[in-house]
């Protein structure tokens, strides 16, 4: 069974090019005002960039602030001044008085224990 395309050329409106062009021109004439008004309403490139900048600049400032803050916190020097009241931190900071009984390498006497519990300083 044949299934080639039918030759519908006689129905093709562009076979009469002048007439068809006239139709096209008529369409263009009628839509021209709406094209022009749409073009006038469309934002220019500068307006688009300005619009983006209105959002992008504050966002960039906030991001930069965050990054700066984090990087400063991470790279800040650690030293004795950071030692708080925690005994381990104090010891690490070299801020602990080693008791005499420990330096002498002898067991603590009751007095040493009392002094230790009550605070040597």
């Amino acid at each position: 069974m044949r299934d080639d395309p039918l030759d519908l050329t006689p129905l093709d409106p562009s076979q009469d090019p002048e007439r068809w062009r006239g139709r096209m021109d008529a369409v263009m004439q009628r839509v021209e005002p709406s094209i022009r008004s749409r073009a006038a309403a469309a934002p220019t490139v500068l307006e688009l960039i300005r619009g983006w900048a209105r959002v992008a600049v504050p966002a960039a400032a906030v991001t930069a602030g965050l990054v700066l803050g984090i990087s400063q916190a991470v790279s800040a020097p650690k030293g004795p001044n950071l030692a708080g009241t925690d005994p381990v931190e104090q010891w690490l900071a070299g801020d602990v008085t080693i008791p005499a009984w420990l330096r002498a390498e002898r067991p603590p006497s009751p007095t040493d224990l009392l002094l230790g519990l009550g605070g040597a300083r």
Binding site: D3, L8, L11, P13, S14
Partner: protein, 158 residues
């Protein structure tokens, strides 16, 4: 615009009316472009406008007109007249042969064989499965060929 013309012709079966409708369709499409949600559906959207306009046109015209414009032979001179008369005759034969087709078959046939759209483009535009488009196209071609062959036989006998 040819696509809009093909759809309008499938509904109206009068080339001059179909040209009017295609022209109005394109103007409407341009003016209502803001209402098109998906630019990828532009062709389907235009076809919908063309179809709606053609149906309205047919409804209005059938109440008004008795003799179709295209039924009147063109008036010209010399060689141009012969060419135009021949074209007019071929056109009338083709349109007559399409009379027995359904609207869908006629639309598919005109979009494919006149406007040159592919099966999948027609399927997307008419919201039909590609297989259905192929089926309609096959049936439409077969029916038109059979009708034209019958006419030729009748002419030969006359």
């Amino acid at each position: 615009m040819r696509t809009a013309y093909a759809v309008a012709l499938s509904v109206l079966r009068q080339p001059a009316d179909a040209e009017d409708v295609a022209q109005e369709t394109m103007v409407t499409a341009w003016q209502k472009l803001d209402q098109l949600d998906d630019p990828g559906r532009f062709r389907a959207w235009v076809l919908q406008i063309a179809r709606r306009r053609a149906l309205n046109f047919r409804r209005d015209e059938s109440a008004r007109r008795e003799l179709p414009l295209d039924a009147a032979a063109p008036v010209a001179s010399g060689e141009a007249t012969d060419r135009e008369t021949l074209r007019h005759d071929l056109r009338a034969r083709l349109l007559g042969a399409m009379d027995g087709l359904t609207d869908e078959e006629r639309t598919v046939l005109l979009l494919h064989d006149l406007d040159g759209l592919k099966h999948r483009e027609i399927a997307a535009s008419l919201d039909l499965p590609a297989g259905t488009v192929r089926y309609h196209l096959f049936n439409a071609r077969r029916a038109v060929r059979a009708r034209l062959a019958d006419e030729r036989q009748e002419d030969d006998h006359a």
